[in-house]
Symmetry: C2
Subunit: 421 residues, 2 copies
């Protein structure tokens, strides 16, 4: 039993009452301080990050090293993410609806913080400040359990945030970083019934499966993204090349990157060579990593590539790999997505309104795009501020989880002695 981690959860629960009682103004002042303290700590954070990166090199892929690496610009981005929260409306305490009944009772549907939000995540250190500040603005205390590769960085970030809270007279227990990086600490959090009100796993499919299968506390499935782009028979093929290229290569390590391309049979012969020219030949010529294409038998007759194996349409590579399948119709594309998607983000490229409508209605994913890259599924890109993760489940929250998704509500009913007849 890892008492240290459980103690952190208990401390967070105890702190949650104080955090829930803060006014919006008090929270915004503290967020401003958090951003300033974070920027002031840039040198310390970069030093810690360099140690993390050095220690991880050779043990994780280059793509993972990219996720782990901070720069001055990325720290500025983290501070900006915190500052953006200041201008966003505070969901906590908001009376969403008031119902006055004929008997005079007044029912107020009132948004309230969840209490304690825990996040178990992998190597991206910007999650540390995003998660802490989002939990805080929505009135929650938090417990952060990052990956061991990024621990030094996260510790430096949390030190800065806690110093900022302290400078505002707020308990440091509002933000808790777990120092035990064995599996034990994750298990303790997953079992901390009564102390953790919501657990969000952020990371690869393995982590998310493990957490959702074993957690005894309420939990939200996030992030794992086998995202599809379907190029319809009526697609503008230049747009399609741009969108597929962007969705695949702009940042392949993230969950909203494309993993699978579906192409209508009637445009495949023209489209696939155009695409290969950009994803493979063009990138090679520019000295960039070319995309490895894994092709269904019909696509393999049109362009060169590796034959797609049985798992290639069910794997999130987070890498420069794209599986390609030719389909006979928009219906077959929708059916394929229904069977293989993780319900994160899918796009159709089409000039036919009817097919666009069919696709957006029948594809059962958090974000469904028409003629737009899947890379926009992101709280910031949606204008919702930074996010706690992308929910791929249907209950409670779907897509980017911002401030409101970190709250619940209660009904407060005021009366003067009313009884039920």
């Amino acid at each position: 039993m890892d008492t240290t981690t459980l103690d952190l959860c208990k401390a967070a629960k105890a702190a949650s009452t104080q955090i829930a009682a803060l006014t919006t103004d008090e929270k915004n002042k503290a967020l401003d301080a958090m951003a300033s303290y974070l920027l002031d700590a840039t040198d310390t954070i970069l030093k810690a990050n360099a140690e993390d990166v050095e220690a991880a090199r050779g043990k994780i892929t280059d793509v993972m090293i990219d996720r782990l690496s901070l720069s001055e610009a990325r720290i500025e981005g983290m501070a900006d993410g915190i500052r953006q929260l200041i201008d966003l409306p505070d969901p906590a305490g908001k009376v969403e609806r008031t119902i006055v009944r004929p008997n005079g009772i007044k029912i107020q549907k009132t948004r309230t913080p969840l209490g304690v939000v825990a996040i178990i995540y992998e190597s991206r250190p910007n999650v540390t400040s995003d998660a802490a500040s989002l939990a805080f603005k929505s009135g929650n205390a938090c417990v952060l359990r990052g990956g061991k590769e990024s621990y030094r960085t996260s510790r430096a970030v949390v030190d800065a945030l806690q110093a900022a809270l302290k400078s505002c007279g707020i308990t440091e227990d509002a933000v808790n970083l777990v120092s035990d990086l064995t599996h034990d600490s994750a298990d303790v959090i997953m079992q901390a019934v009564g102390y953790v009100d919501l657990l969000i796993p952020r990371g690869g499919a393995g982590l998310i499966r493990h957490v959702t299968a074993n957690a005894k506390v309420p939990c939200i499935q996030t992030g794992s993204g086998i995202c599809h782009v379907y190029v319809d028979e009526s697609a503008d093929l230049d747009k399609a090349v741009n969108i597929v290229n962007n969705a695949k290569t702009q940042r392949p390590s993230v969950c909203n990157a494309e993993e699978v391309l579906l192409v209508h049979k009637d445009v495949a012969e023209k489209f696939l060579p155009m695409l290969k020219k950009v994803l493979v030949d063009g990138r090679k010529a520019a000295g960039e990593t070319p995309v490895e294409l894994r092709l269904c038998p019909r696509a393999a007759k049109i362009i060169d590539g590796k034959p797609a194996g049985p798992d290639d349409f069910d794997t999130e590579y987070n890498d420069y790999i794209l599986s390609i399948k030719i389909v006979d119709s928009v219906d077959e594309a929708i059916e394929h997505i229904g069977l293989h998607s993780t319900h994160h983000s899918e796009a159709i490229v089409t000039e036919t309104e009817e097919n666009a409508k069919k696709f957006t209605t029948l594809v059962d994913s958090a974000a469904v795009y028409v003629n737009v890259s899947t890379r926009f599924t992101d709280g910031g890109e949606f204008g919702l501020g930074c996010e706690m993760g992308i929910s791929t489940q249907k209950l409670h929250a779907r897509g980017p989880m911002g401030l409101e998704e970190l709250t619940t509500y209660k009904y407060v009913i005021l009366g003067d002695g009313q009884i039920r007849n």
Copy 2:
């Protein structure tokens, strides 16, 4: 493996696409038909119900027999419940929010049906029509697995509803009643990943514990209610007697009935004898079942009753039993509730605004009342139409689950070739 039940889940999933595509007007016409067919089948339903009641007599408590029993008036109530849904707004398809970003992409947060809603419930047959009509109006297909005691009644109700759907050209698979009443069928539903989008257990604590601990499909914890009324030192004691009497005796078999009374020490000496006069002496004199009082040691010095045992403050009796504890302050009352409540409904009786505010802020339950009986926690009483259950969890839905709580949302994003920089 109970293939019949799994087949029903699959049939519901297949039907869910048709149901999701119905217009509000088509759904409302079908609801009107459902209410009419139900009323037309009154004789058949009452006959089936009489058989159920006859078979159950002696095997379940009188209170449970009351839950099982239908009358012409109760069937009219069921039909009214269906008809009330016609006037309620249809949540499905509603664009809740539109965001246009600087790059021109248009993001529409669009409410959509969940797909298939399954309900595992115990003996109350009105749940059959409530659940089927709520699922239908919100655009979902449903799988109903009622208690074996009420099977004949539920079958007659579902026959009427399916005939109504058929008369409107809608697939009968929109409403499915499980005929296997062994535990196997419940297990099949709990494991039906990919076919059941939401499982709601309605019934006693044992059923709910079993389902939430074992379900692999998304599930909502409902109903179990250890509800408290706290009589503050400043309470109007006549109001308090009325409220406690109503919360305890108006219908003790339901989840929002009071189980535990907390009384401030400074009013206990005056209040408890007033209360006993009504709950015990008055009811005896009127030939009604008196309430059995289970008293903490301090209360036992003031009035007669049974001493409260160790489990009496943690048990939902659903019967004419009331556990009573004297507390020193509103804070002690709040703390007791935090430790023993099921987070369903709690009330304070007070004339002090500060204590009312403290109670509503710090009591972490779905419904928190000031000077009102807990018996109002109910979709109909809240003006939300009939309900699918009372959620006692914090995620997704809290309190009465009406139409909107049976839907999710997706983001539909429309553009013209936008890619991310």
